[in-house]
Amino acid sequence: MKRISRRSFFKAGTTAALAGILGFKSAPAQARAFSGYAHSKAVLVDLTRCIGCRSCEAACNKEQGLPAPATPFTDQSVFADTGHLGHRRPDDKAYTVVDRTDSPLADHPLFRKIQCNHCLEPSCLTACFVNAYTKTAQGAVIYDPSVCVGCRTCMVACPFSIPAFRYDSALHPRIMKCQFCYETRLQYDRPPACVEACPRDALTFGERESLLRIARHRIRTRPDEYVNHIYGEHEAGGTSWLYLSPVPFAEAGFDTTVPTEPIINYVKDFLAIVPMVLTIWPALFAGFHLLARRNRVHPDSADTEISDE
């Protein structure tokens, strides 16, 4: 039987390891070009039109069968009662909330509707190790509670702090977040309930590409009423909810530190080598170990020590 020399073993091992690294690296490089499903749906939110009537909140509550609110949806005092965060945010009892910002740059309060932005490359989805999240071809990021183990990694991963956890249910704990009305509406190409409830057309539903055209049209025809920026066109790699604002977005309460790269891009390179480390490295280093020790007898052995030198 032909014996493998130490040199040929290292040669083969190094070649295999390099092939592994290069092979794994080429896959994410291709996936980086993903810019959303063709003809996927989106919603354009126009802050110049929103007056904080909270009809969208009421519609969402009814459509999703969420618990009754503490005060009626006509109650405007909720805008002042923002808690320690300083702004309102969706929770396990409300998939969407309207938040008020008093910017010195605007002569009236600004209202922005907050809900899941349905990223084109959702970080909640990539963070989930049981695949509870799905980005549907229509654009919704939906969640399947039946497989969720409640690790809440998605809550940490989301750049917009959207997924909320239903802590107060011991028997049915689960993530609660906007589903884009996928089950009842979006999969039939119907707009979500909040859009249909808006009295001032501050919310427009349609294909993402068309809404970007409409958004640019509004900026172009009314340059003095909008800042030249569509929030969500590039933020977090692009989102299915897009925003127009009369003041710079940071002034309107938006997080403008969200990177334009999809969050997953920051960890793709690392995640790509994890399978290799877990599969190739044990075999490789076990081989090195065995090769190095192949003729040595365990010191505790009672046998006489044999040297082949």
Binding site: A58, P72, D75, S210, L211
Partner: protein, 172 residues
Amino acid sequence: MKYFLFAAMAISIGAIPAGGAPPPEDEPPRLIVLDSLAHFYEPVRFDHQLHIDYADCAECHHHTTASPATDPRCTICHTTATAGASVACRNCHGTKRPSGEDAAKPRPSHRYHIDIVSLAGAYHINCLDCHQAVDAGPIECIDCHAFTEEGKKFFHLTDSLLGSPKNQGADQ
């Protein structure tokens, strides 16, 4: 049944002149009841005569009343004032919500008008923005239209909360 049909017709027409005998054909209506969208709210009684005294026709009706358009964005194309087939808001602003499809239509008239608001949008944007700009006229939701029973249910309003000071005079 007769009354039901009449009511259905009135709703489908959308705006019926009310308040005494209807004015002659060429005269603007004095009072318009806006009820085509009444669902969560009662119909709105819109005093058209009052607004004629305050504003030019074109400010609300664009170029459809044959008075020249005032908005510089309109006058780029609408150089001459041509009367529309109908001056009613609902003639151009449909009850259907605007959608991205409007931007994708290849018709020449949609090169610019890719973003026409719905009837509800037209009412609420036009009325509210003007009322805020001139600091007059109703601004709160229930200043114009009272809630229907369905509307109260929708907003989780109980009778005790509806009239409470907490919900009055809230800033918009």
